[in-house]
Amino acid sequence: MKHKAVLRVSSKLLMPPIMLFALYVQFHGDFGPGGGFQAGVIFASAFILYALLFGVNQARRVAPAGVIRTTLALGVLLYAGTGVVGLLLGGNYLNYSVLAHDQVHGQHLGILIIEFGVGMTVASAMITIFFIFAGRGRDERGE
């Protein structure tokens, strides 16, 4: 892909808006259509686009497997942990109302954190899946 200048330039231009859009879908998710699942996939697609054009090895340097694995686990922890915080504050598991001083704020805060956890996990999972599949064939051919 080294010589495809148009692709290289346009993809570099596209990547920031893709990520920004992902964040919009993520954080606007409690008012309009959107949420962690969609945002995570969109966010991951930026990395996948990068890997398609500049190679998996290059992309792995941007997002090392260890980091991705950590965000994957942290996302789940964030989700389940928020539930436990609700539990500690006197509600049932995953009750967000107790998270803030009044119920509406609590619900907002809760869904925001939870969806962020979902987004993190989904994005990391998507990136991992792509890297693993794309990386495997490459190693085989390289040998």
Binding site: G32, P33, G35, F37, V122, A125, I129, I132, F133, R136
Partner: protein
Amino acid sequence: MAFAGLYNYWIVVVLMMIGFYVVIAQGNLVKKIFGLNIFQVSVFVLYITMSKVDGGTAPILDDRYQVYSNPLPHVLILTAIVVGVATMALGLALVVRIREAYGTIEEEEIEQQEGELP
């Protein structure tokens, strides 16, 4: 008219049978996984169809609209889609490993090789 009005369900049934047939009839493991995926997707369509309310709009609170489609099946299917993606990724990963272990992804050839083992 009943037939035309229910065309979504016919699509569901047709998709479901296509997927099911591919899973059963195809010997190629990748095709099997894709058949499985089509089968799952048909169920997604079934759920989305049943959530549609005539004249209903997206369930976003607004003064101008009174009728909303049922959002619950959408949420359920979002979960099911994630499950489907995970299943597909895992299935394909297994196929990759099978290809490395057996050198083929044709079911017949794999069974042949397994038959030679004790």
